[in-house]
Subunit: 234 residues, 2 copies
DNA sequence: AGCGTGTTGAGGAGTTTCCCTCAACCCGAA
DNA sequence: TTCGGGTTGAGGGAAACTCCTCAACACGCT
């Protein structure tokens, strides 16, 4: 009983990506889902997908396991989750000119369907886990299960993967961040200088370095960038 | 079997707050949690809490059911979830001078403990559901269960409550939003004017109205405000 | 001691944005 | 039809920001 909760606990405790994967498989295959994609994302990027953690299965019906780049290029409904706050089902429909992917409330009948589970965090969209198959269980129950499994799997995977990477440490110095925060709060440079006990020149210099470091042209853009990278609070 | 998944499905299908509440209670009371708080939040506000959906139980050990304002004033560890991406346990410890709340990995023994479950969405933190009790089950299993239950309950409650309210429609006009987006992307007013086919004056006027409407002093602040209200993308 | 980084500050010469007022046009709602 | 909101545009002047270079000091590390 409560096997799904056990699966989540197992995923959370996993020490390798393959352990996560097999836990996800053993839960979702019986429900009809045998293709998986997991990636980190940020609404910032043009192509949305940041880096792919896991692609598995025959995603485009050609009988071959697809690789990461191919998935991104064909990426069917991914963009849709810029508009949603919750997991959604999609289905592939065949039309006169080629195949199309559509977001649906409940996918019916045979064909190629899937569930996209976005994962959110402090800074908004952080990634997603996608499940698909040709004969899937699309009940509310299953949606709840995969929502939970998908989120747990993504967080666990990110924890493992980020740990190995040098990790994009904060690229702003404490002072620079502090000044930028005040600017984002609507203060002018002169006020900030006064309240931090600095000269206006220093405040200006800090901001220039911020723009330099973030590689942006204006302070306005720096604010947006800093917000989405979690450098300053929204 | 899978009673927790059933509970989530029941919560999602609830048509009243009290239905959500009783579903939450029947799941969490057996686990030792008999005090609940649910509220919407935004990292924006000074006091963090936006509006309270549900407060129930003896939160401050005075044998009385606490009301919303009281909870906010005493609000123990709420601020902590500005720093976290996942649910966390906290515990109340008695010290020489009064009581204190601490975030802990696993609360042990008798006393007053709780689990805070933040709920995230497109725009970051959106709310939270908090569970507490004096003799709680604090296993990884239970944390997984309440994470799922809490998120589902919050979303369901918000769906019900927001539906009744006039709903804070977008406070920017399409054109204003468009101009602000470009500024946030780092373009200067002159460039924006050129690419939108407007005069620089018009761009400037749009931005002035944006500041006016959002009630802020600088465009930098307007960007942050627009981002956190979901008016423009991060 | 020498090196890199962070923090602080300046001079001078820009460019850009902000502020205020005024006005025309379109469009949908009362 | 009048009214309000959205969009477009202007003039003139003030304030704020950006860009360039240069320099001092503290701090930790090799």
């Amino acid at each position: 009983m409560d096997r799904y909760i056990e699966a989540v606990v197992a995923i959370e405790g996993s020490e390798s990506l393959s352990a996560i994967q097999s836990a996800v498989r053993s839960t979702s295959v019986p429900l009809g889902y045998d293709r998986f994609v997991m990636f980190s994302a940020s609404p910032a990027r043009e192509d949305l997908v940041d880096s792919i953690y896991w692609v598995e299965g025959d995603w485009f019906g050609k009988g071959v396991t697809v690789d990461a780049e191919t998935y991104v290029r064909h990426c069917p409904v991914t963009r849709n989750f810029l508009n949603v706050d919750e997991p959604f089902f999609w289905t592939k429909v065949m039309s006169a000119r080629g195949e199309k992917y559509r977001v649906v409330r409940t996918p019916r009948g045979p064909g190629f369907h899937g569930l996209q589970v976005p994962v959110f965090g402090r800074t908004g969209l952080e990634g997603a886990m996608s499940f698909a198959g040709t004969r899937i269980d699309a009940s509310a129950r299953t949606r709840a299960v995969l929502t939970m499994i998908g989120a747990a799997a993504f967080r666990a995977a990110r924890r493992l993967i980020e740990a190995h990477e040098p990790n994009g440490a904060s690229s702003l110095s404490p002072r620079e961040r502090e000044v930028l925060r005040w600017v984002a709060a609507g203060r002018r440079q002169a006020d900030i200088a006064a309240s931090l006990g600095l000269s206006e020149r220093t405040v200006e210099n800090h901001l220039r370095r911020v723009r330099l470091r973030l590689g942006v042209a204006t302070t306005a853009q720096a604010i947006r960038l800093a917000i989405r990278s979690g450098e300053i609070e929204v």
